[in-house]
């Protein structure tokens, strides 16, 4: 099938402003991923196209992009999903994720995103002595299940950069950082909940969330992000985990 690609291009060394690059691939397959198509453009048509990617199967989180107006991983978005029924031509528009500065083509500055991530103390806190028998801490299957969903996060930023609140104000800590906070707050082994709740309960924390659900829709790992945010809000209100 034919794919018509519109790719948002910007090279800071040459371009005053961003523009749309248009490319046509005549022999694409319906099970090609958007990353496959971008590679074909880069490798066969225009070597200057810049994007991040690594694993190519949705686990490393490098290639979050805005694809036909919705955030997703390029490597996990297949042409078939973007095709209109009955049409032999697929039109795909690809832009960098929003809310972070574009550095070149599809590459954005991820530093603010990782700063928000780091602000929630995204690491296990438990200063009590390890078990004396030299073995692991025990955790029930139920306690482990309590935070399973948020352990899946790959820090791709698809959620945070789909959030209107984040677009409006980049100081909002954003869904991804809250997901990370959730992963530890609801881990029965972790003792850092109160410090983390303080961070996410702050002015630029969870209360900025307007439950738009963009984050949940954008998550390539199918994490129920909005629910995780709601659970953190509930913990803040009730003081209970």
């Amino acid at each position: 099938m034919q794919v018509q690609l519109r790719i948002r291009r910007y090279n800071p060394e040459k371009d005053k402003s961003a523009y749309w690059g248009e490319y046509t691939l005549n022999d694409a397959n319906s099970n090609d991923s958007v990353l496959d198509l971008l590679h074909r453009v880069k490798w066969e048509i225009d070597g200057t196209l810049a994007l991040r990617r690594s694993c190519a199967h949705g686990v490393c989180g490098s290639d979050a992009m805005r694809i036909n107006g919705a955030n997703g991983l390029a490597c996990k978005t297949l042409v078939a999903r973007l095709a209109e029924k009955g049409s032999s031509t697929v039109k795909i528009q690809i832009e960098p994720i929003l809310g972070l500065k574009v550095l070149k083509d599809l590459i954005v500055d991820m530093d603010p995103f990782f700063e928000h991530y780091k602000s929630v103390q995204p690491f296990f806190i438990n200063d009590t002595p390890a078990p004396e028998n030299g073995r692991e801490r025990l955790q029930s299957i139920e306690d482990r299940a309590r935070f399973d969903d948020t352990t899946k996060c790959i820090l791709c930023a698809a959620c945070t950069t789909s959030c209107p609140t984040f677009w409006a104000n980049g100081r909002y800590v954003g869904p991804a950082a809250i997901v990370q906070a959730h992963r530890f707050i609801f881990d029965s082994r972790d003792n850092g909940a109160s410090e983390r709740l303080q961070v996410v309960g702050d002015t630029f924390g969870v209360w900025r969330c307007r439950t738009v659900f963009n984050c949940t829709n954008a998550c390539p790992r199918e994490i129920e992000v909005t629910r995780a945010i709601a659970e953190v809000k509930a913990a803040l209100v009730s003081g209970e985990l």
Binding site: L51, I141, T151
Partner: protein, 595 residues
């Protein structure tokens, strides 16, 4: 030459996967450390590891680290060094406990202990039956390890230089002085001046067409070593994982078979049970054995619909039928699969439109893991030759290193064990080395040579596209240096690769800019891959026997008398020289390998 920024540290760690991060945590305790990665650390391919990390915790049944050691040695087809294997399996236990104490969210057994599952080649040594040894977090164990280690690095304020692509090692005689890196965002060259350097750069699966490896796995560390006079060990042994998604190569964890999944050929047979393959542990035989079986079934016309793939079946209907036949009480259902193998279900639904709960998955062997690599001792110290002469200050760990604990074929779960066990040992050794050693001066113009090579690459205006060369390399490696090899196929690969190396002189980089010039960096990576492909073919052609992942149609038997030894491939000018060192044996005498 343009101005080069210089940074000074005690130690520089290149690569931020499991080995690099574990080493960083330990080295940071006694030295000023920088971690350089060409990616963001959480993008590293450790995160793609699925099924589990092996450790004889014995949480659900009897197990011993010595059993793990025997399985590892047998899995290696007796090429692993048994002193190193002892370290691996003994320290696996407290390293896994350490990961749990760092907060790693392992799945749990009902008693709250770490959940363990069966995995290929891991057995109860008394009964020969599969044993539950793979500690896991659903089917994203590697993801959890990578995240946990990165989290700990943040907690401990480790210095990261994200998106710094290391392109050279500064070596002066038998000392190292640091590395040269390109800051990807600006295209500027930087020198990291240090007492010690660790390469933890991962594998080179991108030499092949169908691979489970990330695009970034281009063997940068080993290629740089080769160019700086460090040999590569056992490069003929590259593992093909039996169950990659058909055509795409995406890994389907051995954990699927650990949970009861079976391989089925075009005639509906559970072929691994055939006497010529693995009648005892069937689908849970070592990876090399299973990959060869799939290949042979396909060659005999017994692929699915006569094509070059077979089915991996985890549907409760099939699995429970076999459980019943075997007299096992176990049963699985949809909820169990969704809980234990959620990512696998997601992959096959996304990429194939196949629901593994109701349909079998089409699979074929996929290039997966390099058993060989930069030769080291059990503390990660790089050795320069077959007499184990150490290059002080130079370290390697993880897939990029060859200790050797995997010998001719790595057992499933042991890559993750290798990362954390030898990452930790290397970090500890580096810290004490840095405390005992003074910083040696940088040579003048330390970055000039590599900068000139990049300038030369940018100057070529007319010639061949890097993509075409890469494709040609992957095609010849897949056709000729794959699950089975012969003198004829390997010679063909050598001829093709020599031509490609010549063509590489005329490769055209279209992007002449500085910022995020991935065209240029991918081309440089291609140069690394071409070299490693050649070393693989050279080392393979020189070994006239079949052992582990190196299976030769023209020499089908293992030859312990002459070939129970490790190869060392040295680059000398434009050619390669091989020499060998004996395997360190121990408790386990080589014997025929039957599963």
């Amino acid at each position: 030459m343009a101005k080069v920024q210089t940074h000074t540290f005690d130690a520089v760690i290149v690569g931020a996967g499991g080995a690099g991060l574990m080493a960083a945590l330990y080295a940071s305790k006694g030295a000023n450390v920088a971690v350089l990665s060409k990616l963001y650390p959480t993008r590293s391919h450790t995160g793609a590891a699925q099924g589990g990390i092996g450790a004889a915790l014995g949480n659900s049944e009897e197990d011993h680290w010595e059993w793990h050691a025997y399985d590892t040695v047998k899995g290696s087809d007796y090429l692993a060094d048994q002193d190193a294997v002892d370290v691996l399996c003994k320290e696996a236990i407290d390293t896994v406990i350490e990961l749990e104490l760092m907060g790693l969210p392992f799945d749990r057994f009902p008693d709250g202990s770490i959940s363990q599952r069966r995995f290929g080649g891991h057995t109860n040594n008394d009964t020969g039956k599969p044993v539950t040894r793979a500690c896991h977090a659903a089917d994203r164990t590697g993801h959890m390890i990578l995240q946990t280690l990165y989290q700990q690095c943040i907690k401990n304020n480790v210095n990261f230089y994200d998106e710094f692509h290391v392109v050279d090692l500064i070596r002066v005689d038998d000392t190292v002085r640091g590395v040269v890196a390109i800051e990807i965002a600006t295209g500027e060259f930087h020198i990291f001046h240090s007492k010690a350097v660790l390469f933890a750069t991962g594998g080179w699966g991108r030499c092949w067409e169908v691979t489970s490896n990330a695009h970034s796995l281009t063997g940068d560390g080993p290629a740089i070593c080769l160019r700086r006079g460090i040999p590569l060990e056992d490069m003929e042994f590259f593992q093909f994982h039996p169950t990659g998604i058909y055509k795409l190569g995406i890994l389907i964890t051995e954990g699927v078979r650990g949970e009861g999944g079976v391989l089925i050929n075009g005639e509906g047979e559970r072929f691994m049970a055939k006497p010529e393959y693995a009648p005892n542990i069937k689908d849970l035989a070592s990876r090399d054995v299973v990959s060869r079986a799939i290949y042979l079934e396909v060659m005999a016309g017994r692929g699915i619909n006569g094509k070059n793939y077979v089915h991996l079946d985890i549907t409760p209907e099939t699995v429970n039928r076999y459980f019943e036949e075997e007299g096992s009480e176990r049963r699985i259902d949809r909820a169990y699969i969704e809980a234990k193998l959620p990512d696998i279900a997601d992959f096959t639904r996304t990429y194939l439109g196949v629901d593994p709960v109701t349909e079998p998955m089409p699979v074929q062997p996929t290039a997966h893991y390099g058993m060989g690599g930069i030769p080291t001792d059990i503390d990660g110290c790089v050795v320069l030759d077959s007499s184990n002469k150490v290059l002080p200050g130079m370290y390697a760990a993880g897939e990029t290193a060859c200790v050797s604990v995997h010998g001719a074929n790595r057992l499933g779960t042991n890559s993750l064990v290798d990362l954390v066990v030898f990452g930790r040992r290397t970090g500890v050794h580096m810290a004490s080395f840095c405390q005992e050693t003074a910083l040696l001066p940088l040579p003048e113009n330390a970055a000039d040579e590599v900068m000139a090579s990049f300038e030369a690459m940018l100057k070529t205006e007319k010639g061949i596209k890097p993509h075409e060369l890469r494709k040609a390399m992957q095609t010849t490696m897949t056709a000729n240096v794959s699950v089975f090899r012969t003198e004829e196929t390997m010679s063909k690969a050598m001829k093709d690769l020599a031509e490609l190396r010549a063509d590489f002189q005329n490769v055209v980089v279209e992007d002449k800019g500085k910022q995020f010039n991935s065209d240029l960096l991918e081309t440089w990576e291609l140069g690394c891959l071409l070299e490693l492909a050649e070393v693989t073919a050279v080392s393979a052609l020189a070994r006239p026997e079949s052992r582990g992942a190196h299976a030769r149609d023209d020499f089908p038997d293992r030859n312990d008398e002459e070939w129970l030894r490790h190869s060392f491939c040295h680059k000398e000018g434009d050619s390669y020289r091989l020499d060998y060192k004996p395997v360190t044996l121990g408790r386990y005498e080589p014997k025929p390998r039957v599963y």
